[in-house]
């Protein structure tokens, strides 16, 4: 899994099952639309992400919203936890015993 995908999953994990807009995810993760949307498409293709159109205020176009499915949430938690374990700093020479 790419670090960018992990970033997107972490962003979704911030508020569990709440809906998010594409531009907000882009701003919060720092990912450009050219990187973010292929990730969202792949997650949706694997049924890990659900999407819907939200009616905005009058005069403004409807927006696409995204949130992780239950399966997606489980997957995201596993992946983010796994990456934390892998990236956690390990003490040199097994650490110091007290």
């Amino acid at each position: 899994m790419s670090p960018q995908t992990r970033q997107v999953l972490s962003e979704f994990l911030q508020d569990g099952r709440s809906w998010k807009y594409g531009y907000d995810i882009s701003r919060n993760t720092g990912l450009k639309s050219g990187t973010l949307y292929p990730i969202l498409m792949r997650l949706a293709g694997h049924a890990l992400l659900e999407r819907r159109w939200e009616e905005s205020e009058p005069g403004r176009p409807p927006r696409h919203m995204y949130r992780l499915t239950a399966e997606g949430l489980r997957y995201a938690r596993e992946q983010v936890l796994h990456s934390k374990r892998v990236l956690a700093p390990r003490p040199a020479f097994g650490g110091v015993k007290n």
């Binding site: 450009k32 990187t35 949307y37 969202l40 498409m41 696409h64």
Partner: protein, 164 residues
């Protein structure tokens, strides 16, 4: 609407219109987000990135289709070459016929069908992994060499020895 924003929107909408139906929803979603981007230059970069993702997804879909065609054409190659070989081998169990029989026609048709199938296989092959392609082509080549060798022996030696 400023010129930069209008340009950005026009580029993105033109790409979305030409996108595959399954990508249009995504393209539209990216286009709609532009209304919520305050900075015009940020909107232009958003549009460029969105165009990039639509094009990348199209390429991905084309690659997937090419892989499917390659898998199917590879299987057809195996079947055709085996048909050619077994058709020739079946000739060893029957007397020569005065005219070309069904077996000869099946052999000829399978050899003719092999040519476009090989071309299709080669054009859709993923050359980043050459070993699978090489194995399949080698199998077809060896099977066809055996088929032609068996045919040559059948017509020039076997028939003259057994059915003179």
């Amino acid at each position: 609407m400023t010129l930069v924003r209008r340009l950005a929107l026009r580029i993105l909408n033109a790409t979305v219109r030409r996108a595959r139906p399954e990508l249009q929803e995504w393209g539209l979603a990216m286009s709609r987000e532009m209304d919520f981007i305050e900075n015009d230059w940020a909107a232009l970069f958003w549009a460029i990135g969105s165009v990039k993702s639509v094009i990348a997804s199209r390429k991905g879909a084309d690659m997937m289709r090419a892989q499917q065609i390659n898998r199917v054409s590879g299987k057809i190659l195996i079947v055709l070459s085996l048909i050619a070989l077994f058709t020739v081998l079946s000739g060893y169990f029957q007397a020569p016929q005065p005219d070309e029989g069904a077996g000869a026609h099946i052999f000829q048709l399978s050899v003719v069908a092999l040519v476009p199938t090989i071309l299709l296989f080669l054009t859709t092959a993923d050359w980043a992994k050459p070993s699978r392609n090489a194995r399949l082509l080698a199998f077809t080549g060896v099977t066809m060499a055996l088929a032609f060798g068996a045919l040559y022996y059948l017509e020039h030696y076997f028939y003259t020895e057994h059915f003179r």
